[in-house]
Amino acid sequence: MTTAVTQTRTTDQRSVPQPPARDGSRLKVTRPAARVPQQKPSGKPDPTAHLGPQQIEQLGKELDAIREEILASRGASDAAYIRKVIKAQRTLEMSSRAVLLFSLFPPAWLLGTTGLTVAKILENMEIGHNVMHGQWDWMRDPKIHSQSWEWDHASPADMWKHSHNELHHTYTNVIGRDNDLGYGIMRVDEDQRWVPAYLGQPLYNFVNACLFEYGIAAYDLEIGKHLKGRKNKETFRRDGKKVLHKIRQQITKDYVVHPLLSGPSFLATLGANATANLVRNLWTHSVIMCGHFPEGVQTFAKSSIEGETRGEWYLRQMLGSANISGSKTMHLMTGNLSHQIEHHLFPDLPSNRYAEISPKVRDLMERYELRYVTGPLHRQVASAWKQVIMLSLPNGTWETAKSDPSGVAKRGAAAAAHYGAKTATRLLRRVAVRTV
């Protein structure tokens, strides 16, 4: 961070009106004189209220120092690590596909499907996600570079990089800016406004888990925005073509060419590919839910990020993410997203280094009296699902249900009447407009 970065921005802004936020560097160092604790509609306390601006600046410096330490020691052994993982993944994938040519025999099916599933998970998580984050760009190897990488996934790399790296990582957990908060179809925080459509979100979440890669493709395509008419039609058509092309290639590989090559094992190989893709979808969906949805993860109001300093940005990343504890294998299979907190603080550091900085980050958060949300996979998945289920109902419904079941029924009836009336009014208005 240099103070000079902001100074340069001021020169041009007198005469020409500039669009906010999009223009100029976001690397601000302006220090707010005093901090105003966030007021949330849900009444949840601001977990950063006890920190003053100097403390937050200090916290930012400590995190910068951790980053510098890794940058200074980044080298040949890290490069060897990613090359080893890529080599192992490709070898595993090809040998599993070879075994599946004989998938008519159950042991071959089982072995091949297991291998292919693991290979596909590694490809998306430890390799694809992290390479496309630019974690390995420093090697200057054009073959392992965020600008050239394409992954085994329905969503084309450049579209995913936009919605993930640019939007999600910049605006992490900011309600209304970060669409990863419930992917636009779910409510995963009390401070997201409830509408009746959320009643179905446990079901949406399950369907999304099964078809996760297609869900992501649809999400990256911003279908929701398109349906609301807020997306440029030309862009949507062009992007849509790209996605369909990618999906066609993926399907041809997994469900046509590979089964055909298997001859009499056609159906078994087709099933093996479908199984591998399904298991990968369920796995990645679970891991990613654990990143931002479990209980204890904080969200932020749109207004809170205006003029955000580097320290405040770090703070938001730490509080907006949750880790998964577990073995080395667990970390590898989650693409080190089990170190979600460290990943969100330093999205461009090589994933193999998150493990060594996590004790430092945890220590730092404890010193600043911030909660480091972590837990084993089963607990975090359960917690995230609990949030999805509980928040499908308006705030307070569950608490009331325990103490006052009849009250809930009354409130339900009142809500139904309220929304029923609203819908009826809207319909009537439409009819009225048409007839007039």
């Binding site: 100074q7 976001r26 590989k253 461009d348």
Partner: protein
């Protein structure tokens, strides 16, 4: 079948040197020539198209995990029976890559290669009278010529400068050629005799004006030679090869050229190149504007930039295309950006 990868991505794992692959080479031997120079024997991939004596090859080698490209003269016969090629590298002060190649690299290491290039070569029919005028590692392209085409040349003088006799790369081989009477070798040991001047050479080789001359060495020497030959009106008899020093003037800010957009601007050392480019109307790719999303990455063709987050310098030499994040990089010297 292998989408989104291509079959080559899998074949590279088992056969990186096969025909049709990106051109690579495997180092099969590292031979020390002097205390700070080594010859690398490289088995090139099947796609290697050969070279002419005096040409160089660009080598991409990973140092501390980072790929660096450097050009080195080929010192081998053009058709070695084992199909290997050699380059000879002198470790220069602060030369990260040359030190790595001379001191660290081991047999078995894979490197990236380009096809041979360069026009510092002998004509098809070798001239009768030749003067080679070299200093330090400037001998490397010349040894390639001597090893390949000495037969065709009747009268060869080699004037070579090195700090001491022990520092003369290929010293034993050159002295043997001289002892056999096949070349006239003039060694200048600069540690005791001082730096050579063009006048010294003219005095030692009185018929220099009748010779075709190939000169390779430090920039100052070559400049002086060009002036000297030019003054006599025989500039066409002088052929030079410059090893451009990789010393870059890094400072605060500099002239930034967006070649394809046709925009040149002066930028200070604190303005992100993204802002500088946008303010000048260049259509810059952009994203998070804080260094995390890599949506703004463009290739730096030549020059130096400073990372505004930690002051780290990234440089690119001609022929490079080093990807840089424009939102957190400021000019740290003259920059040529491919945009």
């Amino acid at each position: 079948m292998t989408t989104p990868l291509v079959p080559a991505d899998y074949l590279d794992l088992v056969s990186p040197l096969r025909a049709g692959a990106d051109l690579r080479g495997r180092i099969v031997e590292v031979r020390m020539e002097t205390r700070d120079a080594a010859t690398l024997v490289i088995k090139p991939g099947r796609g290697w198209r050969g070279h002419r004596p005096g040409q160089y090859v660009r080598i991409g080698v990973d140092v501390d995990g980072v790929r660096n490209w450097r050009a080195y003269s080929l010192t081998c016969p053009t058709a070695a029976p084992d199909g290997c090629i050699t380059v000879t590298v002198k470790a220069i002060p602060d030369g990260k890559v040359s030190h790595h190649l001379v001191r660290e690299v081991t047999a078995g290491t894979m490197i990236m290669l380009d096809q041979a290039a360069g026009d510092f070569t002998l004509p098809h029919e070798s001239p009768r009278k030749v003067l080679f005028f070299t200093a330090g590692s400037g001998i490397t392209p010349v040894i390639g010529m001597l090893r390949n085409a000495l037969e065709g040349m009747q009268d060869v003088v080699l004037h070579h400068s090195a700090p001491t006799a022990a520092d003369v790369i290929f010293g034993a081989e050159l002295r043997a050629l001289a002892a056999q009477g096949r070349i006239r070798l003039i060694e200048r040991h600069t540690a005791t005799e001082g730096m050579v001047t063009v006048d010294d050479v003219a005095a030692l080789v009185p018929d220099w004006e009748q010779r075709q001359t190939w000169a390779c060495g430090p920039t100052g020497l070559l400049d002086a030679a060009e002036e000297h030959w030019g003054a006599k009106g025989i500039a066409d008899q002088l052929h030079t090869e410059r090893f451009r020093p990789t010393v870059l003037a890094t400072g605060q800010g500099g002239t930034v050229t967006f070649a394809r957009s046709g925009v040149t601007l002066e930028s200070d050392g604190a303005t992100p190149l993204l802002d500088a480019g946008e303010n000048a109307g260049v259509l810059m790719p952009s994203g998070c504007r804080m260094g995390i999303c890599f949506g703004c990455v463009v290739p730096l063709r030549e020059g130096a930039v400073r990372d505004l987050r930690n002051g780290g310098i990234t440089t690119a030499a001609p022929g490079d295309a080093v990807p840089i994040q424009t939102c957190v990089s400021a000019a740290a010297g003259t920059c040529d950006i491919d945009l």
